[in-house]
Symmetry: C2
Subunit: 209 residues, 2 copies
């Protein structure tokens, strides 16, 4: 039934800051991210920015199109991105896409987790949580090597995802590094002790991650 969903599958590329989807776009395509990271975000009138979702390699990047007829949060590339573009014949068939609803569920649950993080957690907890989540996702995508994985975000990106300041992200990462709970150099993350980081993340007993 794939033919009903994707008329064509093209290989496409994006550079950092390029839009995959603009605000108010109507559903036309899904992107299967092969390489690179992207995010969904929102800007306040005065420039404050909040990242509301991250798309990693292996993720199906759909700006909630099964739910909203028009995209209300732009999606932009954070790094170079290589993806296959699946243009949609009939948007109403989106949800027939393979594994679609379970992916959607994941992403909504993640958003819920972030909500708790932003609302109630300290800087250390937010960072621990975010980095654990990202590591885990990379691992599931087969892109982790032992306790390590790529993490191509700038500290500013991390700040915009965690609701902190770039300066404070730096401070906090420093202190976490010095305590040996994580290493993060030149876009590469290493977590010597998963358990320790987990403890720092103030996860509820049932948080899946």
């Amino acid at each position: 039934m794939l033919s009903q969903i994707a008329a064509s599958e093209d290989l496409v590329f994006f550079r950092p800051h390029q839009f995959l989807t603009r605000e108010h776009d109507r559903p036309e395509a899904l992107y299967d991210i092969l390489e690179g990271w992207a995010c969904r975000h929102r800007l306040l009138p005065d420039g404050r920015r909040q990242i509301t979702a991250l798309y990693l390699p292996g993720d199906l990047c759909d700006p909630m199109w099964s739910l909203t007829p028009t995209c209300h949060e732009p999606v932009i590339a954070l790094t170079n991105v290589r993806a296959t573009r699946k243009s949609l014949v009939d948007p109403s068939t989106i949800d027939r896409h393979k594994g679609f609803s379970s992916r959607l569920a994941e992403s909504v649950e993640r958003q819920s987790n972030w909500l708790v993080s932003l609302g109630r957690k300290t800087a250390v907890e937010r960072l621990a949580h975010l980095l654990l989540e990202l590591f885990e996702r990379m691992r599931r995508a087969g892109l982790a090597y032992g306790q390590q994985c790529a993490l191509p975000l700038t500290q500013t990106d991390i700040a915009d995802a965690t609701g902190l300041t770039a300066v404070h992200v730096n401070r906090t990462l420093q202190s976490m590094r010095s305590k040996g709970v994580l290493e993060l150099h030149s876009k590469w993350l290493r977590i010597p002790d998963l358990g320790a980081l987990r403890d720092l993340a103030a996860l509820g007993p049932h948080d899946a991650l």
Copy 2:
């Protein structure tokens, strides 16, 4: 086709703090809230609490059951609640429920808005945003009278929804009251100047509300 979805429709009541749905419950019922307010929330191990959704009269309260096979955030009553319980014959038919997917879309978009609020907004902005949203929802439900509506939340509830402290919510509300942008006494909200409050809320140009 209603018969396929709801085997029975009972009138049910809840008292404050009573569970409509517990964590790990499996989908059994939806509640159509006739009267009273409820919320979905999450507790951190040390007691910190974040409210992740509010259910008002007229809302269909479903803890994301179309998405997750098991409820990961409990739903509890904040006030006395009167609702009709629609028990589900076959959970997989949830999404056939009338207007279901558009309600789901709304709730996901709201969650997105809250994310931005918690991540990037000040106390005044968060409160303005929340109160505007609630007033607007009450208005749509036909429960607003002019510029006023019921708002049966305690300041602690408001704090847990906005990621602030009850004390700080109080301080901030005081100052907003004294500036005349809102009145909030004995569970009753009045907004003398919608526009003024809107300005305080730091909404993006395209935030629906």
